[in-house]
């Protein structure tokens, strides 16, 4: 008999509907699990058990009155610490925001609360979402629940760890270059980066505004659809959020892929990709073909230039976004007396970690007079070419399938001194943000005891097609039942 904290949101939801369990019982089970394993995993930066309990009690009242709001009413989840939560510390895992208590909620957080979802706390991440392992957290790295000597991935590593460790039933993360999908792959769960503009970024602390997107981390494809149902939709507070018809993504979770056209871009299976990873991904594609899908190799020739273009565009936007941390309005301020420029310089030197400083430096340089055309503009032109490659591919294919990450989770410290190796961990996920298209990472097996993820991509607002392909694969495999032993 599985423990409550091991169940999926949709299983728990049915139990709540049948009055077999209360939201408070589920919440207490998860809080007890947190007390038990959090010292090993380190997934949370801030826990709010009192908030969670009172939300659970409210959910139970609604259920008793027959007024359950929706399928996630009463289900406890975790939230990445770069989404503003009114009255609850929000740090972005940065010392510069160590004492920041937002005066407002992010739109995604409001939607979560309005759906009756119970919020357990805020999860660890790479500082300002800059990284692929949570080792850049200004506090301490999180651990991978499948092997605590390994990283959980990043930057939403804390969110992925909570779900994989049973410390939350689901979680919200954010994805700028793979920060939902890569940790989902490393931790053996489902992670979705929605189409740019599908989920409001209002209240998400900006890293690279043209790439950032909030999305769900869950055990199953259906849970992913349930949580996307809650957070998707136009928001007047975010001018880049798009007006698309509200839909029920669970309707797309059908085991039905006959005739589905799958493109397999060869660039994602090349050098640097572990052959055990590509083997499992290809095996998954074969399984989908056995169910009636049609797969064919294809090519996205501009992908080879994506890494360089991304590491100009994202830092350029970051250098501009992070200019707000000036020691005046909120956050850390240096104790040293230094005049007005010195105040900013010292405050930022003390508050930011090494990786954040590096990205601010490269971004500032790329945007500075005389270099703009050679770097930033050229990177944006490459971005156009990448988008065109995808557009062309989606004329022919419904989905593209690739590995999510070239390898399984690596050891803590293994790549800390090798920035290029660390960045290569995101090589399969970056192009998706550059093009603005949706992408999901889905468990497709294990190598040496560590989870492997495959990535399913579709055209803008093609989430339904992703859910259909993902669900069909998931239903014929046992991976969704696998739980890390801690």
């Amino acid at each position: 008999m599985p423990q409550l904290y091991e169940l999926t949101a949709s299983e728990l939801s049915q139990m709540l509907d049948r009055r077999e369990v209360s939201s408070l019982e589920i919440t207490e089970a998860v809080l007890a699990r947190i007390a038990q394993v959090e010292p090993k995993v380190g997934a949370y930066l801030t826990l709010t058990p009192d908030v969670a309990r009172s939300q659970a009690i409210e959910a139970d009242k609604r259920i008793a009155a027959g007024e359950r709001i929706g399928p996630l009413d009463g289900i406890p989840i975790a939230i990445k610490d770069n989404m503003c939560t009114k009255g609850i510390r929000t740090t972005c895992a940065s010392r510069i925001l160590d004492n920041f208590v937002p005066p407002y909620d992010a739109t995604a957080v409001i939607r979560v609360r309005n759906a009756g979802i119970v919020t357990l706390g805020k999860t660890n991440m790479d500082e300002f979402a800059m990284g692929s392992s949570t080792e850049n957290s200004g506090y301490a790295p999180s651990k991978n629940p499948w092997d605590v000597t390994c990283v959980p991935g990043g930057s939403s590593g804390g969110s992925a760890s909570t779900v994989a460790a049973g410390e939350a039933i689901a979680a919200l993360g954010s994805d700028t270059g793979g920060s939902i999908r890569q940790p989902a792959a490393f931790c053996g769960i489902v992670g979705l980066k929605p189409t740019y503009g599908l989920v409001s970024r209002y209240g998400l602390v900006a890293y690279a505004s043209s790439l950032d997107q909030i999305g769900p981390l869950t055990h199953t494809v259906e849970d992913s659809a349930l949580l996307l149902n809650v957070i998707a939709g136009h928001d007047p507070m975010d001018s880049t959020s798009l007006k698309v018809a509200k839909m029920d993504y669970t309707q797309a979770c059908r085991d039905e892929v006959k005739g589905l056209r799958i493109g397999v871009p060869k660039e994602f299976f090349g050098e640097g990709v572990d052959k055990n990873v590509s083997y499992l991904v290809r095996k998954a594609i074969d399984q989908l073909c056995d169910k009636g899908a049609i797969a064919e190799e294809c090519s996205l020739p501009s992908i080879d230039y994506c890494l360089a273009a991304y590491y100009i565009i994202a830092p350029a936007e970051a250098s501009s976004n992070l200019a707000r941390f000036d020691g005046v309005k909120y956050g850390h301020r240096t104790k040293e007396l230094a005049g007005h420029i010195g105040l900013m310089e010292k405050t930022r030197d003390e508050g930011f970690g090494a990786e954040v400083k590096q990205r601010i430096m490269i971004g500032t340089y790329a945007l500075s007079a005389g270099y703009y055309d050679a770097y930033y503009k050229r990177a944006q032109q490459v971005r156009t070419l990448i988008r065109r490659d995808f557009d062309k591919a989606f004329e022919k294919y419904d989905v593209l399938i690739t590995p999510t990450s070239p390898t399984v989770a690596f050891k803590i410290g293994e790549k800390a001194d090798d920035p290029l190796a660390m960045k290569l961990a995101d090589i399969c996920t970056l192009p998706v943000n550059m093009a603005g298209i949706p992408g999901m990472s889905l468990p497709c097996g294990f190598h040496d005891g560590m989870p492997v993820g495959l990535q399913i991509l579709a055209k803008p607002f093609g989430e339904e097609t992703i859910f259909r392909a993902a669900y069909a694969y998931e239903q014929s495999n046992p991976w969704r039942y696998a739980r890390a032993v801690l």
Binding site: G331, H332, M361, Q380, L385, P419
Partner: protein, 95 residues
């Protein structure tokens, strides 16, 4: 191209980051490494390609110019390192 220590100091000033000598050295090395990798982009012919700053085709999103409730002064100042009489306090700028 290679950035000198002075170039790195200039970028650090633009970025409002006070870096000590060892950090200048490290940042310089890192910047030069990245710039080498960026050289790859020069291989591509991008003549006439329109730059993409934003992946979705939305432009000029307007709303009605109406007053809505916003954060109160006290909420806005609550996180300030220093405030007084409803103002953010900063160090003296003019001697």
């Amino acid at each position: 191209m290679t950035l000198s220590k002075d170039d790195v100091r200039k970028v650090a000033l633009l970025a409002r980051l006070e870096l000590d000598e060892s950090e200048i050295e490290k940042q310089g090395e890192h910047l030069n490494n990245l710039l080498n990798q960026f050289e790859k982009l020069q291989e591509l012919d991008v003549e006439g390609i329109v730059p993409t700053s934003h992946s979705m085709p939305v432009f000029n999103v307007f709303r009605k110019d109406e007053v809505h409730p916003s954060l109160s002064q006290s909420d806005t100042l609550a996180n300030a390192p220093e405030s007084r009489d409803g103002l953010f306090i900063v160090p003296r700028i003019i001697e």
